[in-house]
Every structure is written in structure tokens, then in C-alpha cells.
Symmetry: C2
Subunit: 493 residues, 2 copies
């Protein structure tokens, strides 16, 4: 069908010459060193206006090749000013994350090797290193024995996989083959989480065809933990009304306040009603590496699946979520589709990870985690996470010392929820929201720190999240001074 090939320029084939790569590679490494040395001189939050960067970029790709020097100069001039610097030690928004030396070096090799770890055969070392490193992590995290793990990109995907496996485990249904049944006496699936659970659970409810209406958001208590009395009540009610409960998602470290659902009680309820228990420890689960936090894993003996993100608090570069499951058969049953061109003679004796997830392609993420775990060692990671928790408590004590501020939720990890509420004024919720929005904008507009907000049972709340490997006590103290000074100025104005 396509007969006439155009002309081929023989001088213009192959990759970048090795010596050129060496030259740029060394330059890039040096630039990264400068970047990290000068990271505090960058504004945390970009002051770029919507569309400003797009306008500076050409409307079409260049026809001819460009020198890497020119590309890099544009990167410095156009892209860098438009970045929000997640590596900045004063990044306190969302969950504060950071890259780290060993992880960046791991990514460099991952990119160079460029293997696809879909099958054991497509790189035995990738699969076996992944199995090994996930078992290392299971032990480090005090996760009970009997969990098998794999690396996926993000926790949203791990949770989605867990819920699909849970859906397929429902007796007398076979959605995998038949789809959802269209008979009025077919079971109407529903599942449970708290009103604090991450939005990825809502997305999963949509994707798997259960629907948002059938995701029951169980009210949380005053400390934002799922109320197990209400959970059991709702399950009973659903059963009475002919619904078919199939799963509960519990969280260790919810996104707004980092509250911890009572896993053991939830686990017992799941056991009683034969529900799949998925535990989302994306952020908080990192802390279970500390002996003093190993109690977080209490109740995990009831769990069918678990997810934890080392890129959230262990300074692993994104992406990479650890998805653990107890019974690989259920996960494999849900996902395995092996076309002829991917059949291998080894498959009886090895793990073909593509059979346990959504994506066929898989990056060699285990390598960077292996680098990171060995470079810092268990004690090094424990030490760093422990210091972050200490800084969180320090920030909380600074807030508590100021009578114009209030703490809005318990802070079990290193995220502090607080707000400005000047003692000499009596402000209603609407005014408090307005005031705190202004405070947040003021401090963020300085470019010196970046904080974000949430709403807790209708109350506008500021969040101060610590997790960056470069954040030290001096950053916390000066960030707090900035917040308090801005607040004082707001009142005086």
C-alpha cells in the first residue's frame, strides 16, 4: 500500500553520538548539582500567568534538528520559571515530596536501559528485583507475612486494581466474562469508605461500573476516622435492602488531615460480612517503618490488599506505588489475558507481572527503590522520617503557642491542619474562610513558601505538610514566622 519511500539521509541516522551524550550528560549532572545547591533561591510557586509559557513556545516542532545547547537554554529560560519547585524545602502543599540522589541515579539507569518489565522473560532481573525489593519493603514496613507485591505507577491504579479483584471475587457474578447482570434480582454491588477518603476511590467507583451512588461514604468521627458503628449499621441496612456489599477501603493517613481509620475494627467487620478490605497507606503507611509507628499495621492481617507510596515520604522520585495483595489468584483472575505473542515456556515457574495489573508495559522502577533502600539503609530512612515527624510536632507547637491560631485536627504524622482565628474577633465561618484564603494567598505570593487548604466538616482549613528531604528546623521556624507575620498584618490592615 505504501510503495514509494522518501529519500533517506545516511548522515542522519542512529542515536546522538556517544561522545556528545557524554558531554551533555556531564553538563546536565553539573546543572542538577547547581539546582539543588541553589534550590532555596527559586520561588516555590511559579508566578507564571495562564498561557504565558505556551505563548513563548513555537506552534510547531522544528523541521531541522536543534543543538542540545539551544534546547537546554530554552529549558532554563522558558520552562524553569514556569515550574512549581516540589524540591524546595519550603514546599508544604498537598503531600510534600522530593527526589533524592540515589533515586535520580536509579532513574538515569532506568531510562538508559529502557527495558519493559512486562514478562519475566523480557528482563528476568527486573521481575526478580521487583519481587525482592517488595519483600524487603514488606518487612521494613512491618506488613504481615503473606502479602505479595508489585510496583505500579500511582496509588489510584493500585486501588483500582484492588477493587476490580474484589468485584470479581463476588460469588455468583462473573463480570469479567458476562458484564454486570441486567436482572432485577441480580446483586446490587456497593462498597464503603469514609467521608475523608481519597478521590481516587470515587474515580474507581465510576471506572468499575459500580457508580458513585453505590460508594457509601461513612461519616468520620471528630478526629476524622471512619465510624465503625455507622459502617456496620450501613452494611446491615444495605443487606436488608437487597444490596450486595463487597469491599471496604480504609485509610492510614487520609489526604485532608492524615487521620487513621481504625483498621482492626474495620477488619473484623470485613471478616464478618466477607468483604474485601483494601487499605490505602499511600502517605501514612510510610511511617510504619518506624518501630514506634509499627502499630499502624495492626489489623492488616484482615486486609486483602494494601498500597503505600515510597515517592510520598521516602524521597523516591515519582512514580512508583507498592501494591500488595494477599491472594494473587484473585488479582490474576481479574486481569490475566495472555495473547499468543506473549506466551512463554517459563510462565509456569516465574512471575509475569503484566498479569496482575491494568498496564501491559512496565518501567523498571524496582531499580531506583533498590538504590534508595541500600544507599540510605533502613536506619537512614527511619531517621529521616522520624525527623519529619519531629518537625511536624514542632510546627504544631508553634501554632499552639499563638492564641490567634487554632489546630483543626490531630496530626498523627507530619501534616498539620490549622487556621487563623484572631482571638479579638468573632468571625463566622464565611469570614474565617475569606480571611484564611487571603492569608494563604499572601504567604504563597511571597514565593517563599507554598501551603494549601482543605475543608474539614465545612470549615476552611490550612494544611502544612512536611515531607521533603531538604526541610530542616530552620525552614519550619521561618515558614511559621512568615505565616504569623502575614496574619498579623492582615488584622492590622
Amino acid at each position: 500500500m505504501f510503495n514509494e519511500l522518501g529519500p533517506i539521509d545516511r548522515s542522519n541516522l542512529g542515536d546522538m553520538p556517544v561522545e556528545e551524550f557524554r558531554h551533555h550528560g556531564h553538563d546536565f549532572i553539573d546543572w542538577i548539582c547547581d539546582y539543588f545547591s541553589e534550590i532555596e533561591s527559586y520561588p516555590v510557586l511559579s508566578s507564571s500567568e495562564p498561557g504565558a509559557i505556551k505563548r513563548r513556545l513555537p506552534g510547531a516542532a522544528p523541521e531541522k534538528s536543534m543543538e542540545m545547547e539551544k534546547i537546554f537554554a530554552d529549558f532554563i529560560e522558558i520552562i524553569i520559571p514556569g515550574l512549581t519547585h516540589w524540591n524546595h524545602p519550603n514546599f508544604y502543599a498537598y503531600f510534600s515530596i522530593s527526589s533524592s540522589g540515589p533515586s535520580i541515579l536509579g532513574e538515569l539507569l532506568i531510562a538508559a536501559l529502557n527495558i519493559n518489565a512486562m514478562l519475566w522473560k523480557t528482563s528476568p532481573a527486573a521481575t526478580e528485583l521487583e519481587e525482592t525489593v517488595l519483600e524487603w519493603m514488606r518487612k521494613l514496613l512491618h506488613l504481615p507475612e503473606g502479602f505479595l507485591g508489585m510496583m505500579v505507577d500511582f496509588a489510584s491504579v493500585a486501588t483500582l486494581c484492588a477493587l476490580i479483584a474484589a468485584r470479581e471475587k463476588v460469588k455468583d457474578l462473573n463480570i469479567r466474562v458476562k458484564g454486570f447482570p441486567r436482572t432485577e434480582n441480580a446483586p446490587s454491588l456497593c462498597f464503603y469508605c469514609s467521608d475523608q477518603t481519597h478521590s481516587s476511590i470515587d474515580k474507581a467507583a465510576i471506572i468499575i461500573g459500580v457508580g458513585l451512588e453505590n460508594l457509601r461514604k461513612i461519616e468520620s468521627d471528630k478526629d476524622f476516622r471512619m465510624r465503625t458503628d455507622l459502617l456496620e449499621e450501613r452494611i446491615k441496612e444495605d443487606l436488608k435492602n437487597g444490596h450486595k456489599p463487597f469491599a471496604v477501603v480504609a485509610t492510614i493517613g487520609t489526604t485532608s488531615t492524615t487521620s487513621i481509620d481504625p483498621i482492626p475494627e474495620i477488619g473484623k467487620i470485613c471478616r464478618k460480612y466477607n468483604l474485601w478490605l483494601h487499605v490505602d497507606g499511600a502517605y501514612g503507611g510510610n511511617a510504619s517503618i518506624l518501630p514506634e509507628y509499627s502499630g499502624l499495621m495492626d489489623g492488616l492481617e484482615y486486609a486483602d490488599s494494601y498500597v503505600i507510596n515510597p515517592y510520598k515520604w521516602m524521597s523516591m522520585t515519582i512514580d512508583g506505588s507498592l501494591f500488595y495483595f494477599r491472594d494473587p489468584d484473585f488479582v490474576e483472575h481479574a486481569f490475566s489475558i495472555v495473547p499468543e505473542y506473549l506466551k512463554t515456556v517459563e510462565s509456569q515457574h516465574v512471575t509475569d507481572y503484566m498479569n496482575y495489573g491494568i498496564q501491559l508495559g512496565r518501567r523498571f522502577r524496582a531499580l531506583k527503590l533498590w538504590f534508595l533502600l541500600q544507599y540510605f539503609g533502613r536506619d537512614g530512612i527511619v531517621n529521616r522520617i522520624r525527623e519529619t515527624v519531629r518537625l511536624g510536632r514542632l510546627f504544631q507547637s508553634l501554632v499552639e503557642e499563638n492564641p490567634d491560631f487554632e489546630i483543626m485536627a490531630p496530626a498523627p504524622f507530619s501534616v498539620v491542619c490549622f487556621r487563623f482565628n484572631p482571638r479579638n474577633e468573632t468571625l463566622d465561618e464565611a469570614k474565617l474562610e475569606k480571611l484564611n484564603v487571603r492569608l494563604m494567598d499572601e504567604v504563597n505570593n511571597t514565593g517563599k513558601i507554598f501551603i494549601e487548604h482543605t475543608k474539614l466538616k465545612g470549615r476552611y482549613t490550612l494544611r502544612f505538610a512536611i515531607g521533603n528531604i531538604r526541610t530542616a528546623e530552620r525552614h519550619i521556624r521561618s515558614a511559621w514566622k512568615l505565616i504569623a507575620d502575614c496574619a498579623e498584618k492582615l488584622v492590622h490592615d
Copy 2:
């Protein structure tokens, strides 16, 4: 709840010191240069036995930190021999992919910056560069105007997103909110692809709750292209039987033979029956950058969504699929869930990419594609892909010249399907399969090349896939010589 923090070692905080990073970084760059210079001295396929690598790794992470030199030495000694070298110019299995200098350098910066491109605000430059580069690619690929694009990790995810959006577009259903309806007169969803379509479509049928049974695999013609007469027949039959067709997945470059479905005819049928048309150009779609292949985009004016993987044939490092869709409202309607802590004032005027997909977290993949497109330029990419097509035709002609081999399917791109069928013997299918399995194993066991197989309408077939940026004519000629020599030896034995 967690009161007593353990001891903190102040000497053991922060990241790898900058000067240490510089030292290792330079060493790693030099190693990568050596790796690429010596790539042909590695066996393509690892000869590692199942479990052999795992046995060489400790059962638990080290307690104390390890020197990077020691970690790297283990990488060289334990990991490297267990890798299948996807960068080897004699890797002809699956779809042959490769990393490239500009893309590796891009990944290095992506890892160092470690931003999460979930919202515009979380890095304006990441979102705007992604919008820009995807528009560049749209033009380069001759994709019609009016498609908006985003980068996801793999085509499996893009296809899944497309099918969820398609499912949510079905009138009188609201699965997003209500889940699948449980009434006998509810529409029974079904969708269509050919019997050559990628296994990710089957996975999507499972995940979205439609079920494998309701994915109709339309028979392909003798050239492995979807038969549109059968497609329309089946749609009519489904409608008559009360089913509700909602989508068709057509492919440009199927996985087994790289056949091209007749997109314009399929598009017209989709228009007629109001079906979502998703086109999977993951591999073959790369070729539409060649003017002589721009006809591949004929019929794309009917498509609602499209996916193409530049990591498949443009030497971009994995991962990174370009997911294009025509009407962002449908995709956003399916996926958008914005919790309070992610609400931003800018969201009216900017693109928040997290609202168009499954994952909340997003790597800054646009950066490496931007590097790659500028470094090679359009002409450079055209030239390289064109050369690969030429090499594919060369390999095909070598096979055709040998009367003991047969071509098993048309080769529109750079993948050749063939098998050994010695002229002086009359072998049945079972014996031909056995013979070709032996031939494949023999050539792969030399470590010199790596090819894989498929089955075409029951016939065992070898696949020779060319796509690596380092593959030159001499590789093709010697690979063919190896295959032909091994075959001759097999007959003599």
C-alpha cells in the same frame, strides 16, 4: 497516639551530598556511554534461570547505609546479566524499542525536578509544555485538527480512558453515578474490535464492567484487517437482539502482523450507528509522520479518540502514550472528581490534566518528548523511521529469496511475519509449529538475536520486528544469515 519518637542521628539527615551526587552522576554517565558503545557485546536475551537472580540478593534491606560504589558493583554483577537488552540492535521481538540520548537526558531532568503535573498550578510549565508538544505531535502525525491531547503512561490506559468516556456517553445511562442498571430492559452494552486487536481491549472490557462476552471480535480478512461487512452485520444483529452497541476499536498496526484496519469504512459505520470510534495507533501511528504514510490518518476525521506511543518507534524512553480526544467534555465528564484540597482559582482558564484520566499523579513526560522532537527535528525522525521501513522491506526480500521460507502476512511497516517451511518436506501445521519453535529457540539461544512468535489464524508464525534506533543494514543481513543457517542445520540434523 504515637508519643515517643526514637533517637534521631543529626549526621544522618538530608539527601546525598551534592558533591557526592556529582561524582556518581559523572560515573553513571560514563558507564552509560560504555554501555551503548559495547551494546553489541551483550547477549540480547538473558540466559538467567528462573530464581537465579533472586537467590543472589539478600532477603532483607540493609540496616546501615551502603556505599554507592558497592551498590553499583552489585548492579553490574547481579542485575546486568539478568537483563534482556532492549537497546541491542538485534532485538527483534514484540515491538523493538530503544532509548535515545535526548530522551535519556530528558528523563534525568524529569527525575531531578520530580514535579507532579496533576494540576496546572502544580507546575504551569509542565501543563503548557504538554499541551504544546501534543499539538506539535498532532501536526507532525497529520492527525486532523480538533484533537486535544494528553500524555498517559501506556496505551492500555489511554484505551481504557477512551472506552470509559464512550460508556458514559451512552444516552439514558448514567453509570458514573448509578452504576450499571439492573433491569431487564436496560441496554446491554457491547463494543467491537477485530480478532487481531491488542489484549488491552479485552482487559478494558473486564475493567469497565461490560464483560469479555460483550466485546465482539470481528473476523479479519486474509490480510488481517477488520471485515467491515461483518462489523455492520454484527451491529445490526446486536441491535435486533436488544443490545446497545457503543464503541468500535480500530487499529493502525495490529500487534501480530501490524495490519491496518480500514478506518474510513469503520468510521462511516460508527457515524451511521452513533458509536464512539477509538483508534489504536500505538505502533503503526508513528509512521504517519512520513508524508508517504500520511494516508494512515484517512478516516481519523470520524474518530473520537486516538492513541499513539512515541516510545514504540520514535526512540522515546518508556513510558509515554499520547492520548488524543475530540471532545474534552466527555472525557472530563467521565473522570472529573475535584476534592476541596485540589480546587484552584485558575481552573476556569487552564487545563488540569488530572481531570482527564485515571491517575491523579502525573510525571513530567512532556519534557523528554520536547527534547527528543527538537534534537532530532521532524526531518531526523522521518529519516529514521523511513530507514526502519526500508530495513523491513529488505528483510522481507531476503526471506522471499529463500524458497524454504514463507511470508505469512503483508508487512505495511517494519515487522515481518514469516516461517520456515522447507520446500522438500510436506509438514502439517503441528510439525511446522514444532519446527519453527525449535528454530526460534535455536537462534535466541545464541544470544545474538531475539525474535518472537505469534499465531495467525492457527498458523505458528515468527515475527521479525525492526524499530531500534541502532539497527542498521548489517544487523539485518547477519540476523537473516543466522536464521537461515540455523534452519538449514535443523533440516540436516
